[in-house]
């Protein structure tokens, strides 16, 4: 009795530590973004919608990892799936549209900005930010999570839980940035490659949702799995269609006819010149 109580208390402590770290992490990132805004306030005004998008992305991440939804997700597959949509799809999309790398380049002193640009141009980053590689990391990660015993394991251990969720968030960010990123990307793939990878990714997402509907992970109740799988399918579709629209909108802006060029002042997302801007 005493022992069980100790174990339960110990487990609860682990989960509490996890939630506190998540909140702390989100606050640190928000603080860094605010510091970037402050450090670059003498430059051209930063679009307010970027700040709003980034902040909404952080809210999605926080809602997925701490608070009532995160609690429910430990027992309900449907709540788990809602959390995953926020953490791996919607949150990353909003964060990417917040253009944090552009803000960092504006805010940093020239030498450090150049160092960051060098990192962005390095071979490992080039490989990781290829849409196909990022898609395998994001989509493949989900297949491993739901196809193996990783799913029950992540609910037994706060550490495994943290590792899985960190992967979902980072891979989701990487994939979204590689397909519709607005930050400078020296190796941006062509519209054709990004659309093609996106089609395969959406297909894999939809196939996985159907598989989960019929073959839920161990320990998930059948009815819960059906609702969760449909949430994954339809919720994922909404974000996926948004990604397709953003790729097409980037193409639309980049192929603007010449006579109409110049009627719109600001460079539109997606038609940004290749390579990182000089942070002067």
């Amino acid at each position: 009795m005493e022992h069980q109580h100790d174990a339960a208390a110990h487990g609860a402590l682990g989960w509490a530590v996890l939630e506190v770290s998540v909140v702390a992490g989100v606050l640190v990132v928000a603080g860094a973004y605010a510091a970037g805004l402050r450090a670059s306030r003498h430059r051209s005004p930063w679009p307010a919608h970027r700040t709003a998008l980034f902040a909404s992305g952080l809210v999605c991440v926080a809602a997925a990892l701490a608070g009532p939804l995160a609690d429910a997700a430990r027992t309900s597959f449907t709540a788990h799936m809602a959390g995953h949509l926020l953490l791996g799809m919607l949150g990353p999309l909003l964060l990417v549209l917040g253009a944090p790398v552009t803000l960092a380049l504006r805010a940093m002193p020239v030498r450090r900005a150049r160092a960051l640009t060098r990192v962005l141009r390095s071979p490992p980053v080039r490989v990781l930010t290829h849409p196909a590689v990022a898609a395998v990391l994001a989509g493949g990660g989900l297949w491993v999570l739901y196809g193996t015993d990783l799913y029950p394991a992540m609910h037994a251990s706060p550490l495994v839980h943290a590792a899985v969720h960190a992967h979902v968030l980072l891979a989701g960010y990487l994939f979204t940035a590689s397909v519709v990123g607005v930050d400078p990307d020296p190796h941006r793939a062509s519209v054709a490659v990004r659309s093609g990878v996106l089609v395969v990714y959406v297909a894999a997402h939809s196939v996985l949702a159907k598989r989960l509907y019929a073959h839920p992970p161990a320990g998930v109740d059948a009815r819960d799995a059906e609702v969760g799988a449909q949430l994954m399918s339809y919720g994922g579709d909404v974000v996926d269609v948004a990604l397709v629209v953003l790729v097409a909108a980037g193409w639309y802006a980049a192929t603007r006819p010449r006579e109409a060029a110049g009627t719109r002042g600001e460079v539109v997302d997606g038609s940004r010149p290749r390579g990182a801007p000089h942070p002067e």
Binding site: V199, A229, Y252
Partner: protein
Amino acid sequence: MAASTPAEGSRRTTARSGPADLDRRTVLAGVLFGVGVAGSMVDLFVFHLALQWHHFYDRSTTAVAITADGFFHAVTWSITVWGLFLLADVRRRAPVRWGRWTGAVLAGVGGFQLFDGVVDHKLLRIHQVRYGVEHLWVYDAVWIGSAVLVLLAGLVLLRRARPDRSSARPRG
């Protein structure tokens, strides 16, 4: 005809936007949008959600069919969006011949429903129009018959709205 095709095609033809190119792009935009809407939205909103004749997944499908369905789903949503952006692209270059576009959309919808009714429902038997009904053939006949009518209406409209100077024959 994957989602990447319009992007590549238009990239190559960005410099050339003569009347024949724009007409071809108008028809392509309409067909992509028609096929896309029929494949992604009609099925989802009308038959899955409103009538509930189709199921999310009927559990009898093979792994190959689910995979094919997943790709199909991804491609139809993609071409719906790309069709609209292609239309917007034509529109910013010249006035759109709406008759041509409407004919292409109808041809796309009809062509898709015909394909779905014959190949998916009858030959591959991926899913049926409705489950647990006595006279399935009536549903099939209505489905295929209406598909043929829409396709024909689209082709007629395409032909009637054909630009005079264009030597390209309209295709459905």
